[in-house]
């Protein structure tokens, strides 16, 4: 019943659907509302663009010259305030001559964080590396060793403080969060209740109240006469806070492990802790890496709150730098834009990195 078959070679499409013009026709002018919206948005953009360009670049002052800045007051941005004050903004009240120390410490810390996310580095010596780098960072910041002058913690500030507090609190919170997550899944009612109360209590209250608690109540909890370092108080507060959120993420990872894994471990005769350490946790932790990274980004942003309890990290040091100098104070908005840009660059890069890591981990799961 069928005619003789003649094979047909593939042809390219008669009307091109790839390339910019077809794309624009489909995506920008696909139908009437779409076309009108495109024109409106482009119109608005080009209407405001000259004004914005003027203020930000063309009429802006880039040199730290107060007279020029004041002259350009409403017509151009005064980026000179950044040129003048950037060291105060980024490093806070850290002594001027020693600012190379927090710089080196921060770079080391950031490098360590980036390396820790890559699967290749998940070896036993990573823990040792962490200890070494943290010791190095503390020595750099605090001094007192190898001829470095001592700089007390209340003078630490700016970006290094932000990175340090965020990193430390996640690192310290992590083991605690694993224990709490295991505790919440435990069959022992007392332990499960304690862990659940801890997590729900912390997650139900704002971070500021936890910081207040750490700041005002922590000294009361210690024997009379002992004075607790401000940084330590804040660290304890943020660590307890992060641990509660991380515990939920780790618990999600544990729940994703099929029950068969635990059963296989049991049949092999492994004890509870052996099974957790060798079989369950390694798999769960690989699943939760993206969630942990998101937590890190959130904590990084939350460190801005420690300004309210008088530790001058990046947001606070900016206020400090400009409030104390009446000449430069009117240009606070440029200062804010500067630190907004810093936060954005850090957070955006971290979230892109996190997405890349997630893709790496998921492709390694699929054969």
């Amino acid at each position: 019943m069928s005619a003789t078959f003649r094979s047909i070679a593939p042809r390219p499409a008669p009307v091109s659907t790839e390339g910019f013009v077809p794309w624009a026709r489909a995506n920008l002018f696909g139908n009437w509302p779409s076309a009108v919206t495109t024109l409106l948005l482009l119109g608005m953009f080009f209407w405001y663009l000259p004004g914005m360009l003027n203020w930000m670049v063309l009429k802006a002052v880039f040199v730290p010259n107060i007279q020029q800045c004041q002259a350009a007051r409403d017509t151009g941005a005064c980026w000179g305030v950044i040129a003048e004050k950037y060291r105060l903004i980024i490093f806070g009240r850290y002594p001027f001559d020693e600012q190379w120390r927090p710089e080196v410490a921060t770079i080391a810390l950031v490098a360590l964080l980036m390396a820790s996310c890559v699967r290749m580095f998940w070896r036993p010596w990573l823990a040792l590396l962490w200890l070494l780098v943290m010791a190095f960072v503390f020595i750099m910041m605090h001094g007192g060793v190898a001829g470095l002058s001592v700089v007390e913690t209340d003078r630490w500030g700016g970006l290094p403080l932000t990175v340090l507090v965020a990193t430390l609190s996640i690192v310290l919170a992590f083991p605690l969060s694993v224990l709490v997550a295991l505790g919440r899944r435990s069959k022992m009612p007392a332990i499960k209740t304690i862990c659940t109360i801890y997590v729900e209590l912390i997650r139900g209250v704002p971070l500021i109240s936890v910081l207040f608690m750490a700041s005002f109540m922590f000294p009361l909890f210690m024997p009379p006469g002992t004075s607790i370092d401000v940084l330590l108080r804040v660290l304890v507060g943020i660590t307890l806070f992060s641990a509660a959120y991380l515990a939920e993420i780790v618990r999600g990872g544990l729940q994703a492990i099929p029950k068969g894994q635990q059963e296989a471990a049991d049949t092999l005769g492994l004890s509870y802790w052996q099974a957790q350490r060798k079989i369950i946790l390694p798999q769960a932790l690989a699943i939760v890496v993206p969630g942990v990274m998101n937590s890190f980004i959130a904590i990084f942003k939350d460190t801005s709150l420690i300004t309210i309890v008088s530790l001058y990290e990046l947001t606070g040091s900016m206020g400090l730098a400009l409030d104390s100098d009446s000449d430069w104070r009117p240009f606070k908005i440029e200062g804010y834009i500067f630190i907004t840009a810093i936060y954005f660059v850090f957070c955006f890069s971290m979230s892109r990195y996190s997405l890349w890591i997630e893709k790496q981990l998921s492709t390694s799961k699929n054969r």
Partner: protein
Amino acid sequence: MTEPIITFDKVNKWYGNNFHVLRDIDLSVAAGERIVVCGPSGSGKSTLIRCINRLEEHQQGTLRVDGTELSDDVKAIEAVRKNVGMVFQQFNLFPHLTVLENLTLAPMWVTKMPKKDAEERAMQQLKRVRIDEQAAKYPLQLSGGQQQRVAIARALCLTPKIMLFDEPTSALDPEMIKEVLDVIIELADHGITMICVTHEMGFAKAVADRVIFMDEGQIVEQNTPDEFFNNPRNERSKDFLSKILGH
């Protein structure tokens, strides 16, 4: 000779600029005819039937369904979809509605049927596929075979003239394939035009009036099941048959 109910006239479709997925398809389907389309994966079989109810758009050539030419015209598409029912490989039942609600949704909202009439018709179709006792359950509470039978009933509620099946048993466990195929075979005796993309060759032999073999976007061979399975004329058909009939 009566008008064919579906005509493909030099239909071509491309994905992007370079993937020529349907090449110069010429096909006529008579009313009441039962057709099985088979071929290796990527040959364009699913794309072919998805063009019939405009789930895919062809770029060149003419495609007429039940007298209406398929184009971007919304009214034409609406008219066609009222007469063409489709059953998917992944069932695609609406999980937030009960089985009965899944079936009455389209009659109530598309053909504006009163609820009571829609429910009556729904129960009729459920009885037909022998699953009426599950009417109050939710789709995810049923087995795969039961879900696919509900999907068939859902498509039948609109009393379509044409039924399209896109690999209806490929997502099912072996023991459930028979119950679904039995339902489709029963349907075949009622005069509905059927086009079924499937690998189930026993089903094709039992039901089909015509088997169409596609490869690389073209119709390579079409014949009665007897002729096609026992006397394939083309090298590619022979090659394909040897692979699937091998075990």
